[in-house]
């Protein structure tokens, strides 16, 4: 199972702007995998959107879901 991750703002300095990960069951597993790969992410504040909907609890991920990592917004 592959999930596509798009990354924005300050987080792109750490991870680049896209990632593809395999075998990630849910968003909690995603966060631990990301922290594993990019230890500095632990200190970064961000929200997760699954298929453009912001989530605030652990959410199961399905094949071809699009996940976005969103640091605090700074438009305007």
């Amino acid at each position: 199972m592959a999930i596509n991750i798009v990354i924005f703002g300050s987080l792109t300095d750490i991870t680049g702007s896209t990632l593809q990960l395999e075998n990630i069951a849910d968003t909690n597993a995603l966060v631990s995998e990301l922290n594993n790969r990019y230890p500095v992410l632990v200190n970064s504040k961000f929200m997760i959107a699954v298929n453009k909907k912001m989530i605030d609890t652990n959410t199961p991920l399905n094949n071809n879901d699009t996940i976005a990592l969103l640091p605090p917004f700074s438009g305007g």
């Binding site: 703002g9 300050s10 976005a68 605090p72 917004f73 700074s74 438009g75």
Partner: protein, 146 residues
């Protein structure tokens, strides 16, 4: 009235002539009695002796447009507006140039002024847009909204 999601994004700075044209276009709408306009301008902040020369904006565009559509509907429901226009830059905008243009109109001034204010606050807080502050030596830092 059902409204379709509009594209708010403009590549680069928002030109003064675009703003002037936008004002001019409303002269045929004679039920309007007041406009309110907010213009966001890129500030040349100084950080540790280095000056911001430009901000480069990126956005999660699809999500931002969906969210802006919801905000637009809520603002129209809350205030008695004749019309509402929002334009936000993407890409590089130099210090002194305009990066955000919010324009509301109503029969009487209060609705336009209050709606414009609320729109600016919600755009800054709720739209997935990020500003990267660029310095002359090509280093950068990520903008934090106050």
């Amino acid at each position: 009235m059902e409204r379709k999601p509009k594209n708010i994004f403009v590549q680069g700075a928002i030109e003064a002539v675009f703003i002037a044209d936008s004002i001019q276009k409303h002269s045929s709408k004679t039920n309007i009695g007041g406009h309110s306009i907010f213009l966001g301008q890129v500030r040349a902040d100084k950080i540790d002796e280095k000056e911001v020369v430009a901000i480069e904006y990126t956005a999660y565009e699809e999500m931002a447009l969906e969210k802006m559509h919801v905000i637009r509907e809520e603002i129209f429901a809350k205030y008695n507006l004749t019309c509402m226009h929002v334009h936000h830059s993407l890409g590089k905008v130099s210090a002194g140039e305009i990066c955000l243009f919010v324009f509301t109109s109503s029969a009487h001034r209060k609705a336009a002024m209050e709606a414009c204010n609320e729109l600016v606050e919600r755009i800054k807080a709720e739209l997935p847009i990020w500003g990267k502050e660029l310095f002359a030596d090509e280093s950068h830092q990520w903008k934090i909204n106050q």
